[in-house]
Structures are given as C-alpha cells and as structure tokens.
C-alpha cells in the first residue's frame, strides 16, 4: 500500500527524538540504513563512531546471594555487567532467578561498598594501604606471631567448594578447629532428622512427583533450601495432574499464600498435629508400610480430639488432611523454620518425617541425593548452633584472633548473647567484607573483598537437585570497580603462603582454582559433559560441571515418637514468629535499594518493619493498620507498626527479619527493627540449635500511628474479575488431567 506506515517512516518523522521507546536497543547501525529514505534516517540515526550501540555478551557465573548456588548468566556490555539471568544449564535453577539473584548487580555496584583496607587506630577505623594491612596481618597471625591452636577462630556463612578448602587449610595450618558456620535461615534440624531417620542429611525431594504436599512451615517457595529450584518443581507439581498443597504454619509465608489449604496450628504444636495425622492414618489402616506395634502404641495417645485440643486444628480438618494424603498420594511431607526452631523442634520434625515413612514416600518423593564425590568441596551448611558456640567462646574469652567472612553475627545474634559486646574482648578481629555492616565495623582490620561478580570461586550446592552432582563456577563478570578490593581467595592464599610453602606456586586464587579443578578426582573429571573440552574450559563456558555419582537408597528407620508440647506459664501469652522472606533474607540484603522497594509478598509493606497480627488480636489491642505496637519478650522489646490480616494465628505475632540495622549503609541503616534481638536464648534440645521461634512475647498498644507504607489501595477486588479462583474439578473438566 502506497501509504503503509512502518517503523522507518515513523522514525523519519519523529527522528531520534521520537525514538524514545520505538528505537531503544537497535543494536547495530545496519538496522537503520534502510532502503527507502536512507539519507534522512541515517542523518538522524547514524550515531558517532564511539556511540555505536554495543552488543551484550553473556558470561556464566554463580549466584552468591544465598546458599542455593544458582547458576547465573551475566550480561556484559562495554565492560559493565548490566543484568543477570539464570543459567539454563544449571540443574539448580534451570535458567530462572529470584529477586535476590536479580539484585546481585546492586550488591556489586552498591554505593556503600568498602573501597580500601581499614585498620583500627585508637577507637576509629582508618583507611590504610594493603601493604600496611598485610604486614599487620602477618605480624598478628604469621608463623612468628605465636598465635596457635584454638585461640584462632573463623566465623563464616555457608561455604563450599574451594573457598571451604582453603579456609580449612588455613585453620589446619594454625591448628584450630574453630570454624563457626553461621546462618540464621537454615535447615539444620531438618538435616539432622534426615540424617538420623533416612541416612541422608539433604535428601532429594521430588515435588513434581508428589500428588499432595503437606508442609509444616517449610517455606520452600520462599526461603527453604533452594527456593528457585523448588519453584520450578512446584510449577510441574501444579501443572498436569495438579497436586494440592497443604501448609501448616503460624504465619502465612509465600508458600502458605499459594496453598490450597492453609492451616494455622498453634505455634510449636506442629509435631502433635503430625502425629495426630499419623495416628489417624494408622487407625484407618491407610499406612503404606507396616509400623511396629510399639510405634503404633506410642502414637495412639494422639487421638484426634486430644490433638485438636493441643493444636487448635479442628478434627474435621485433621481427618481431611489425612484422607488427602492417602487419596492424592504419593505425598510429600516436609518441615521448615516454624516447626524446627522450637525447643522440641527435633521431635516435631521427626514426627513429620514419620508421616513420610508411614505413607511410604521414601524412594518415591524423597530420594537419596547425589553427594559431590569430593568431600572437601561439599557445602559446610550454616546453623545457629555455631552462633551459640561462638557467643560462648567470646564470653569466655577463648579467642585471640577472629576472622569473619560473609556473615554478620553482631546483627543476627540475640541481644542477650551479647556477641557484639564481647567481640571487643577478642584481641584481633579481621573482617573480610564488602560492606560496613555491624560486625565489620567492630573489626580491627577490615579487608575489602571483591563482589560476587568480580571474584573467582567454586560452589557445591548443599542441596543437589539432580541425579548427577553439580559443581558451579563463579567467575568474574567484569573488572573490579574499586581498585583497592581483593578477592577472598587471593587474601587467604597470601595468608597460607606465610605458613605453607606449597601454596607458593600459585600466583593467585585463579591459578589455584585452575589447578585444583583440573586435579579433581577422576569420577568428577571423567564425567564432564562435552568431554571434547577440558574440564576448565567447559566450566568457564557452561558455568558448571556435573559429576555422575551412584547413590545408594535411603535407609528409613522407624523409631517411636514422643512429642510433648511445652506448657507456658510465663506472663508472655503470644508467640514471636521472626519470619524470613525472599528478598531481604536474614538482613544481608537490606542494603539493596531494589529489595527494600519491593513489597513483602504477603504484607506488601516496603522500606521498613511491621508486626503481623490477626484481626481478633488487633481488636483486643485496639490497633489498626499502621498503629505502633510494642512487642516485649523476657530479653527485650521492639516497637513497630502493625499490619493486620487473616494469614496468621491469633496467638502469634510475626515480625519479619531483615531490618533494624545500626550500620550497613545508607539504605539499611536505622530502618525498622530486628526481631532476632529480643529472642530468648532457648536451645533446641537435641541439636543445640537456637530455637528462634520459641520466644514468648506480649504485645501492647503503643498508641502511636503512622501511615503504613505499603503497596495497594484496596485489599479486595470489589467484585472485579482480576483474580478469579476456580475449583480443581472445573480445571479437570475444562483442561483434562494433563
């Protein structure tokens, strides 16, 4: 048609000016030198030589934002990394990424990064040169410093791969066993139960194979084990036969928000509920595997009515859950934070695991995981037991030298443990850190390290989601933005060189890695996919190597269960739920503007803390959204705004983790409150973990109001068809089974 308008015509008309969106991202001038109207268009559009829009190149690396170890692809243009996306080759996340992964770039470009070494002179930290820093380091912990043995400690977050190796190496050289691996968001109770009952501390969970998932507070879509992977599996689970998800927890997590049935059990009684269900199943003889009578006997006390009394979950519902597990099987029963982190958390999780055994899920939906062949590279998973140990060691003044890396105990430790106070007792504190967080600023020597996108490293996910085990490579996506930062590995190497000449031959961590990877055991190197290339090139390109490993089946052990609910007689009627969320995580991402600006998935609050309350409780207290309440425990109190919704148990008050930093840069500092601070120092009896969900509190109206800054005007659709919900049978009617 003579007057057909196309992009070129339009551009001719609007020119570069009009190109606002119409042209953004034309990536080569060839695309605008056109048949018709060439001159005009070119005259408008042909940019200067230097301004020819470049092409993004993608490099593979590994995400360091949490412990899941997702593979990343980073888009690099003009020497800058612009955006990260999931690495399709990684079996962990299959090319997907979560909000924290996407935000890696903002951690990397963060304006508050530490840009030069700092040393404590008098009371203040002052910038020094690397030489000065290193000499100080040498004098303090070098071979002739006399520092030896257990008076040296190292506290880190979850570490794996060759970072773990060199940390071990250094501590071995020094002769210390004090490697505290600390994570607030952990699954250590779950792991120990799995170890004891299945013989595999991180079994492979097949969400996709399950017909119904019963989750006791395991926020597997948000914070549990490997969220991105789980979400992918969850999608498969929902599609096709469409399994049903039942979530039992005191406070609605992201997973709870997606549940078909969300059951608020009285906090700390989940174990009883699990046993009640198990008992009912046994009574009905629905159990898939035979259960020794002893077990049956001890279960029999958990009658429906008794369980209802304890948990507050109506009998009818318990029955329904039980029948669902049977009818819709194979089922998968898991337990997470709000179940684990009580004084009897182990028993609770064990009771939950019992359900799996009874329903015969072992081998179907729960399988042995593919452990990485080389033990030394496997992940050292963080927990809170080590936090308690560290606190004790500090109190008793057992440490002269303390290294901190990738963790922030001064922030995450409950106030009563007085970690930050007793830190001052340590003679020499060295912090490997990117950011001026609470712990770092207490150090005597601060060593600025590369960001996850500038540094080399290898990661072995603690949770191996595949039949073959994966090792994921973290390679720099760009030159360091700050001249004065160094790689963690590099610094460790130079420390090692002081004591062990063998490391002399490595110029830097890069060369170390290269050799180390090449020299990995045969069962890794021999099974590299794309065998044509050597393992290292393969890793550089794909970002991962997979090691085929033979897994032996799980060995389920049925032991008889006891679960006692602790009776509370203190003056603290409510349960504090320090809930974690995908985003700020345990607070390590509070300095990332994006993650501050993105609303919490459930409460939709931004840039601050809040306390979630049930409408009933709110009515009792006479508070409405935005009013301030004071949450008081035996060990302290915090004051924050309330958000009221029906996704929480009336006896629970939930304050999310992540906020309440005293330091940690412009975006985090002085924002909100930190629920961890008011936790009582209660221990899980069997594992010695910190029972983060066991603290009892009382909530009082602070008689102060501020507008609650959250997303969304009306909480209801007011009859519009925005999100319409249909029943499963309608789905089956219209779309069939698969």
């Amino acid at each position: 048609m003579s007057v057909k308008v196309n992009r070129r015509k339009f551009l001719k008309m609007l020119g570069w000016g009009g190109a606002g969106t119409a042209l953004t991202g034309c990536d080569l001038p060839t695309t605008v030198t056109l048949e018709e109207g060439k001159e005009e268009v070119v005259s408008y559009l042909m940019p200067e030589e230097y301004a020819i829009p470049g092409i993004g190149v993608w490099y593979a690396s590994t995400c360091t934002q949490c412990e899941a170890g997702c593979g990343l692809h980073g888009r690099v243009r003009e020497g800058r990394v612009l955006k990260v996306e999931g690495n399709p080759d990684s079996p962990v996340n299959h090319g997907k990424s979560c909000m924290m992964g996407q935000s890696t770039v903002q951690a990397h470009y963060n304006p508050d990064r530490i840009t030069s070494p700092m040393m404590r002179k008098g009371s203040t930290l002052q910038a020094v040169s690397w030489d000065e820093a290193m000499s100080a380091l040498t004098s303090k912990i070098g071979p002739d410093s006399g520092v030896k043995g257990d008076r040296v400690g190292m506290v880190t977050g979850t570490v794996s791969g060759h970072q773990a190796v060199i940390i071990d190496e250094l501590l071995a050289q020094v002769g210390s066993k004090n490697h505290y691996v600390h994570e607030v968001i952990n699954t250590s109770v779950w792991s120990s139960v799995c170890r004891d009952m299945l013989g595999d501390e991180m079994p492979k969970l097949n969400f996709d194979k399950a017909g119904v998932i019963l989750s006791f507070g395991a926020d597997f879509l948000g914070t549990w084990i490997s969220p991105v992977h789980n979400m992918g599996e969850y999608a498969k689970f929902r599609k096709g036969a469409r399994g049903s998800l039942i979530q039992v927890e005191p406070k609605m997590t992201l997973t709870g928000g997606n549940a078909d049935l969300w059951v608020p059990a009285k906090p700390g009684t989940e174990g009883a509920l699990a046993l009640g269900i198990a008992n009912f199943i046994l009574e009905r003889g629905w159990n898939a595997v035979d259960v020794p009578s002893s077990v049956g006997k001890s279960l029999s006390q958990y009658t429906l009515t008794a369980v209802e009394k304890v948990t507050g979950v109506p009998v009818s519902k318990i029955k329904r859950i039980a029948s669902m597990l049977t009818e819709r099987g194979p089922s998968l029963v898991i337990a997470g934070a709000s179940t684990e982190n009580h004084e009897n958390g182990y028993d609770a999780v064990a009771s939950v695991m019992l359900l799996n055994l009874v329903m015969g899920n072992i081998g179907k939906t729960i399988e042995a995981s593919a452990k990485f062949p080389e033990k030394a590279l496997r992940a050292k998973q963080g927990n809170t037991k080590d936090l308690l140990l560290l606190a004790k060691a500090l109190k008793d003044n057992k440490l002269d030298v303390l290294f901190t890396y990738n963790t922030n105990p001064a922030f995450t430790a409950p106030a009563v443990l007085q970690v930050s106070e007793s830190l001052s007792g340590v003679g020499f504190k060295v912090a490997f850190s990117m950011f001026p967080d609470e712990t770092t600023l207490q150090a005597d020597l601060v060593l600025p390290i590369h960001s996850g996108m500038e540094d080399w490293g290898t990661h072995v996910p603690a949770y191996q989601p595949d039949t073959s085990s994966v090792l994921s490579l973290q390679q720099p996506l760009m030159e360091p933005i700050h001249k004065e930062t160094r790689g963690f590995g590099d610094i460790m190497l130079s420390l090692l060189k002081l004591r062990n000449k063998d490391f002399g031959k490595f110029a830097d961590y890069y060369s170390y890695l290269q050799t180390a990877v090449a020299n990995m055991p045969a069962d890794v190197t021999s099974n590299v996919e794309g065998a044509s290339k050597d393992i290292w090139t393969n890793m550089l390109q794909k970002g991962i190597v997979k090691a085929k490993v033979s897994t032996n089946d799980l060995s389920p052990k049925l032991v008889d269960m006891k679960f006692k609910v602790k009776q509370d007689n203190s003056g603290y009627p409510m349960h504090l739920v320090p809930s974690a969320r995908l985003g700020l995580w345990d607070g390590r991402h509070a300095n990332i503007p994006w993650l501050q600006e993105f609303p919490d998935q459930i409460a939709k609050v931004v840039w601050g803390s809040w306390a979630e309350l049930h409408p009933k409780k709110a009515a009792e207290l006479g508070v409405k959204n935005g009013d301030y309440v004071r949450v008081t425990s035996a060990s302290g109190s915090i004051e924050t705004q309330v958000y009221i919704h029906k996704g929480i148990h009336p006896d629970a008050v939930s304050v999310p983790l992540g906020q309440g930093h005293d330091e940690f840069g412009r975006y985090a500092k002085g924002r909100g409150v930190n629920p961890l601070k008011i936790l009582n120092p209660l221990m899980e009896r069997r594992t010695g973990e910190l029972a983060t969900h066991a603290t009892r509190v009382k909530v009082t109206n602070a008689h102060r109001h501020e507008k609650l800054v959250h997303l969304g005007g009306s909480e209801s659709q007011v009859g519009r068809k925005f999100v319409k919900t249909i029943s499963v049978d309608q789905l089956r009617r219209t779309e069939g089974e698969a």
Partner: protein, 482 residues
C-alpha cells in the same frame, strides 16, 4: 420582563453629561477598599508565582499528585474558571439579542470578567503539564518532521476552543467599548487621552459608524452564544470522552454549561456588589438590576439542580457498577463532606434568592454569591477527584488532598484574576456610558409614549412585531422590547 417592577431599572432623568462625569470620576477616585483588595490579590498572586517556580523546578510531585490522582485541583480550577467565563459573554450576548435593556449598565464588567477568567483558566492546563516548556506541541503547526498534534484528543479541542473563545469574547468586549473610548478621548487629559485616542480608532459617532456598529455587535453576539456553549461542552468532553466511571456521562455537556452559567451569574453578583461599593455606582447598578440578576441566577440554579438529579438517577438506575460505586463513594466516602457542601451550596442556598428583602440587601447578597461560587468550585473538584480516587482498579484506590503548592497556585489564580479585573475597571469604564444613555433615552421615550398614547395595546402589538422583525431585519430597533 421589566413590566412588573415597582422601581425603575435606572432613573431615566439622569443628565447624559452626569453619566459621563460619574463614570469618569469612578475611574479616577475609587474607595480605599479598592486598594486594599488590589494589595490582597497581588500578594496571593505572588505566592502562586513562587509555588509555580518551585513546582517547575522540582516536578509535579511537589503538587502531591500520585498514580491514581494524575489530575487534581488544577483541572478542577481550570473548569471552574472556564465556567466563570460563561456568564459574562453568554448573558450579555443573549440579553442583547432579546433586547433586555437592563443588561446595559452591567454587561461591561461581566464581559471583562469573561475575558479575564479565561485568561486565568488558560494557565491551568499549562501549570499542570509535566513539561510546560513543550506546551507548543499541542498547536497544529507545520513541523519539519511532519508531526501533528492528535486531533482526537479533547485536550487539543480545548486548545482550539479556548483560543477561539478568548479572542472572540475579547473582541466582543472591545467592539462594545469603542464609543465609550471616544467619550473618554474627548473628556480626559494626558496619557489617558492618548490611550483612548488610539483605542477608539477614530470613532466620531456618525450614522454610518453607528449603523455598522450595531450590525457588527449583533453578529458577534449571534456567534458568541453557540461558541460559548460549545466551549464548555468541549471542556466537559475532557471528562465525558474518557472511560472513567463518573466521567463517562452523556449529560455532561449540558450539565457543564448550566454549571458554567450558574457560577458565572454568582460571580456577576459578587462583582456587582463590590463595584457598586468601590466606585459608588448606586445609581447605575441599581437594586432593580440586582433583583433581575438574582432571579436569573435562581432559574439557572434550578436547571443545574435538575441536571444533577438526572445524572445521579441515570447512574443509579444504570447497570454500570463502576459508575454506581463512584456515586455512592461520593456521597458516603471520604469526600462525602465536600460532596454535601456542594449540594448545600448549589441546591439549597439559591432559595434565599426567592426573598426580595435579601435580594435587595447587598451584604447578604455578597455572602450568598460567595457561597454559590464555593459550591460551584467544589462541584468541579467533586467531578475530578472521586473518580480518580476510586476508578476501575481497586488496587490503585487512594484518597488525595492536594499539597501546599497546589493550594497556593489555586488561590493565586484568584489573586491573578482579581488583579486583572481591578486594573481593568480602573482603566476602562465598568459601566457602558453610551448604552446607559440609550437606556435613559429609551425609558424616557417609553414613558412619553405611555402618557400620550391611549391606544396602548396596539402600540404594544406593533412593538412586539417590530421586535420580532428586529432580529431578522436590522435597522428597525427593538426599543419597545425593554
């Protein structure tokens, strides 16, 4: 219409020379209150300037606007001023065509009001723009890139309509003033003489000029009436053309026009009282005229009320849930207080105009007219805000009360208008001298007629006939129509 009055529109025995003298005097020595008002207006205006500078620098966030509330008081005020502009020209033109003689002493300042409120209104679309400096992109000029404005957009219609209306009503005002300019040229001295000498374009008052003058004036009047109506209909289509609940209303054009006339009349009453006081115009702006204005206002108020009812009921019985929600929200939601204020001021207060005692009591008329104006302003805001506060997407519901900046600019607009107006009445006669003379002349004539002629009825009939023909065949004047 002026048959049933017990006192005259104006005392026909006024000496013509006195008319000149009084009006000219008024332009030279107003009361002190005049200067006070000028000062007040000036300060308000300056505040607005400051606010606008800040907003220009910072962006519209400073006006407190947000996602659902992309428009707020700026547009409401814009509509208000446009509405205000209607009484002047429209009334003057209509009354001129139907030969309502009593318009003559007051139409001048009414028309001035039109022009100035238009000049005020014109600012608001600019102020509310995100990038004022590109304002001219709305104009259909030939650009080397072949870009044109989007002629579908009611905002572009506004640009056309307002510029047409502004120029036309300004011309109407000016043409009407030419003979008075001549008078002033002859009877003032110094710079004023020079000024008026230029402005009267050499008016001599010979019959040829008068003849063409009359025809021109009539023609303009004929054009202005449909124009005025179209202008406010177009402004209403800013809302009516959208799909927003509470805006997408078929009856909006007439509703807006009625509202416009309403607020215009109210404004005329206010200014009437002020001028009458400031310039000691008791003899010209007589209570009789006030009464007539009041009656007119009352009539229009009732029309407006009726249209309100239509709108509400059609929404209520219609099937559009969104519209219904907005309506209910208006009456019961966070804006309820404002809404009921509007109903009270717009529908209840006008009933005070039924009492002659009040109509003839200037201070109370002042208060009443202010209340009416308030009601009409609030009406405009009640059109803009509640819809934005509660449109289709509940997720974006939000209630907004404008920021200080916004309020400052809105108030400032009143200052600016006042300033323009006060300067005008100081420079130009706010009472049309030559037409007051005509008025007296005709009244006298009429009375003589009545005295001498006992065949009253027949002349009346003839007069009617003549009046009737008066429109089609100019030259035969319709003085008996008075």
């Amino acid at each position: 219409m002026s048959q049933v009055i017990e006192d005259k529109v104006i005392d026909e025995k006024l000496e013509w020379s006195r008319i000149n003298a009084d009006v000219i005097a008024s332009m030279q020595a107003p009361r002190k209150a005049y200067w006070v008002t000028v000062f007040v207006c000036l300060t308000m205006f300056l505040c607005a300037i400051a606010a606008e500078i800040y907003q220009y620098k910072m962006g519209l966030g400073s006006a407190g606007l947000n996602n659902p509330h992309m428009w707020d008081m700026y547009i409401a005020t814009f509509v208000f001023w446009i509405g205000m502009s209607h009484a002047g020209t429209l009334l003057s033109a209509i009354l001129h065509i139907i030969h309502a003689q009593w318009r003559k002493p007051i139409y001048r300042f009414a028309e001035a009001m039109t022009t100035f409120s238009l000049m005020t209104a014109g600012f608001f679309p600019m102020i509310h723009l995100g990038r004022v400096w590109n304002l001219y992109w709305v104009l259909p000029y030939v650009s080397d890139r072949g870009i044109w404005p989007n002629f579908r957009s009611p905002l572009v219609w506004d640009a056309f309509a307002i510029s047409t209306y502004l120029s036309s009503s300004a011309l109407f005002l000016f043409i009407g003033m030419i003979p008075d300019m001549a008078i002033l040229r002859d009877h003032t001295t110094g710079w004023r003489k020079k000024l008026y000498g230029i402005l009267c374009l050499g008016w001599r008052g010979d019959d040829r000029q008068w003849r063409n003058f009359r025809r021109t004036y009539m023609l303009l009047a004929c054009f202005l009436i449909p124009l005025a109506i179209s202008v406010h209909s177009i402004v209403s289509s800013d809302f009516a053309m959208s799909i927003m609940p509470g805006w997408h209303v078929t009856t909006f054009p007439p509703y807006f026009v009625a509202g416009a006339l309403y607020s215009g009349c109210a404004a005329i009453m206010t200014l009437f009282v002020c001028l009458r006081y400031f310039f000691r115009m008791e003899e010209y702006m007589t209570l009789n005229i006030m009464e007539k204005t009041c009656k007119l206002t009352f009539a229009i108020a009732m029309v407006w009320t009726y249209l309100n009812l239509i709108e509400f009921s059609s929404t209520w019985y219609g099937h559009n849930i969104y519209d219904k929600e907005v309506l209910i929200a208006k009456a019961t939601g966070p804006y309820a207080a404002v809404f009921w204020t509007m109903i009270f001021c717009g529908c209840v207060v006008p009933f005070t105009l039924c009492f002659q005692k009040l109509r003839r009591h200037m201070p109370s008329m002042f208060v009443v007219s202010i209340l009416l104006n308030l009601g009409m302003y609030v009406e405009r805001w009640m059109i803009v805000a509640p819809t934005l506060a509660q449109a289709h997407s509940p997720h974006q519901w939000d209630v907004l009360w404008g920021s200080v900046i916004q309020w400052a600019i809105v108030f400032g607009s009143f200052g600016w208008f006042g300033l323009l107006f006060l300067v005008f009445v100081k420079l130009f006669p706010c009472v049309s001298m030559y037409e007051v003379k005509e008025l007296c002349f005709h009244l006298k004539h009429e009375i003589e007629e009545e005295e001498k002629a006992k065949k009253h009825a027949t002349t009346k009939a003839a007069g009617k006939a003549e009046e009737g023909s008066g429109r089609t065949a100019p030259g035969t004047p319709g003085l008996e129509g008075a």
